[in-house]
Amino acid sequence: MAETHAHATEAGDDTTRRDILYIGTATFAAVGLARGVVWPLIHQMNPAENVKALASIEVDISQIPVGQQIKILWQGKAVFVRHRTANDIAKARADDTAADLKDTSNRPTDAERVVDDKGTSRPEILVLLGVCTHLGCVPLADRGDYDGWFCPCHGSHYDTAGRIRKGPAPANLVIPPYEFIEEFKIKIG
């Protein structure tokens, strides 16, 4: 009886030790493969160094007539720089507390939307990513129910501060990182 018992324990011990070795080896191999082979195969698809290097551009804004905008390509995306009229600004500010402002977390007041990264505020210059927050189309200027932008793809309406008011887009147009480096020159990115 005692003998059988001892034998069983011994066999059991042996199996457990071996299992640990097997599991250890397999884990080691799996982690090694994942880190050494699988990850490089996935990560190669992420942005390459040269793509990441094109991070910022400088833009001359002296030639934008009041009431119009320019479109620039930054990191493959459209950026709007709009020279707003006094009326545009007044309208946007009057709507600061409107009930149909859907996105109240992303710079909801007009005053917050015209401040650059260093804190300079120029209400007449509005800088926006021209990328509809729904599925990425470029909205058209001076259209839609709020005289700001209208996205032709699925019908989102943005106001004169670039805030979403109506349609499927969930968020306000994004303000890219930018700063005034001269009176009529901004750096984006």
Binding site: I42, M45, N46, P47, A48, V51, K71, L73, Q75, G76, K77, A78, G130, H134, L135, G136, C137, V138, L140, C151, P152, C153, H154, G155, G167, P168, A169, P170
Partner: protein, 431 residues
């Protein structure tokens, strides 16, 4: 193979081969002697049409690749070069572009056939799932290919579709960047799409082989939905079905040729003849017709539900509308396969086909177009509701409640009854 092999190698070479690689036996068992139900109608010929379409896409694609340049600078110009300079380039490109559309037409007929005749039910669940996998890969391949000409529609389709992933909480943004290879659709995107557009059709070939393997275990279903019981119910694949399939392929090819030679741009969008411009979205973007119903489902959800945003819900509904098809074998609770004997389900099926067309119409039009005073977006919402209700409510409930019409004794009896000869007169001398 599921049936007994009756292949007899007849000469020295075939005997020698049969002992080493019995591939001639495989071909004989699968496409010569294979016993098919004798009552298959023309809806069953679309499998052959699909096989030919896949080969056509691969052959024309490989030769197009000899002239195409996958760069932002060169892509659009190389398409024009193919159209104007390359010998028969217009034929190859129109053949490939229209061929893609024909491929989808055939697959939709093939799938509705399966739906109507209950081909997805036991023991053909795996066969159905493999088919769905092929369909899913086709959708991906078609999308990737559409980006390659680098026209305005190509570019904005790529932008909108990759943005679906942005809607996924937390990880969505990283997945999108990984797909694009940068902050927006650009050269890295075009390059990887080209690589994958070349790869996926060959993966489809692999899944098609599994699909046919799974088919040949139980053999084809048939319009009565009852299993074959003996030799009186079947005919050999060759010549009966090879000829029938070839005839269908020829008719289908004629239809395709009409598009190819007379209306090569009828299914395309003029905007894709404008080179891609990342600063300007075309005023009206719509996908190719074969994606329209899903596009309508995506756009139909314009309201938030609790903390779930409309944008995410739209994407979930769109993917869900495809994923739900994978579960068909378990959603349908009826033991009777063919809707020929299920009058209630048949009625809902016809509504479902109509619903798909309506969704297609909604997808093609702007959300605020009105018909009889109803806005397209409301029609879209209702049709989306019916789409899901058909699978999630009607299918299980009708399956349990409906009393089917009496089934025929067997395939043989059904054939004779239909041709008016009566089930009693057996010895007809055919087969």
């Amino acid at each position: 193979m599921a049936h007994q092999s009756n292949y007899n190698p007849s000469n020295g070479f075939t005997k020698w081969m049969d002992e080493r690689l019995p591939i001639i036996r495989l071909g004989y068992d699968s496409f010569v002697e294979f016993p098919n139900p004798r009552n298959l109608n023309y809806w069953w010929t679309f499998g052959a049409v699909l096989a030919v379409a896949l080969i056509w896409q691969i052959v024309t694609g490989i030769v197009l690749a000899m002239h195409y340049t996958p760069t932002v600078e060169g892509a659009y110009a190389s398409i024009e070069h193919i159209m104007r300079d390359v010998n028969y380039g217009w034929f190859l490109r129109y053949g490939h572009a229209n061929g893609g559309a024909m491929f989808f037409l055939a697959v939709y007929i093939h799938m509705f056939r399966g739906l109507y005749y209950g081909s997805y039910k036991a023991p053909r669940e795996v066969l159905w799932i493999l088919g769905m996998l092929i369909y899913f890969l086709m959708m991906a391949t078609g999308f990737l290919g559409y980006v390659l000409p680098w026209g305005q529609m190509s570019f904005w389709a790529a932008t909108v579709i990759t943005n679906f992933f942005d809607a996924i909480p937390w990880v969505g943004g990283s997945i999108k960047t990984l797909l694009l290879g940068g902050p927006a659709v650009a050269e890295p995107t075009l390059n990887r799409f080209y690589s994958l557009h070349y790869l996926l059709p060959f993966i489809i070939v692999g899944v098609v082989i599994l699909h046919i393997w799974a088919l040949h275990i139980p053999g084809s279903a048939n319009p009565t939905g009852i299993e074959k019981k003996g030799p009186q119910d079947t005919l050999p694949f060759h010549p009966y079905f090879t000829v029938k399939d070839l005839f269908a392929v020829a008719v289908f090819a004629t239809f395709f040729a009409w598009f190819l030679y007379f209306q090569p741009n009828a299914m395309g969008h003029p905007d894709n003849y404008i080179e891609a411009n990342p600063l300007q979205t075309p005023p009206h973007i719509v996908p190719e017709w074969y994606y329209l119903p899903f596009y309508a489902i995506l756009r139909s959800i314009t309201f938030d539900i609790f903390f779930l945003k409309a944008q995410l819900l739209g994407v979930i509904a769109m993917f869900g509308s495809i994923v739900i098809l994978f579960f068909l074998p378990w959603l349908d609770r009826s033991k009777v396969r063919s809707m020929r004997y299920r009058p209630v389900m048949r009625f809902f099926f016809i509504l479902f086909v109509l619903d798909c067309f309506i969704l297609g119409w909604v997808g093609a039009n702007s959300p605020d177009v009105t018909v009889l005073g109803i806005e397209a977006k409301n029609i879209g919402l209702f049709s989306t509701f019916y789409y899901f209700a058909f699978f999630m409510i009607i299918m299980p409930v009708v399956g349990m409640m409906e009393t089917p019409k009496p089934l025929p004794e067997g395939i043989h009896e059904s054939v004779l009854a239909r041709s008016g000869k009566g089930a009693s007169k057996h010895a007809d001398g055919d087969a």
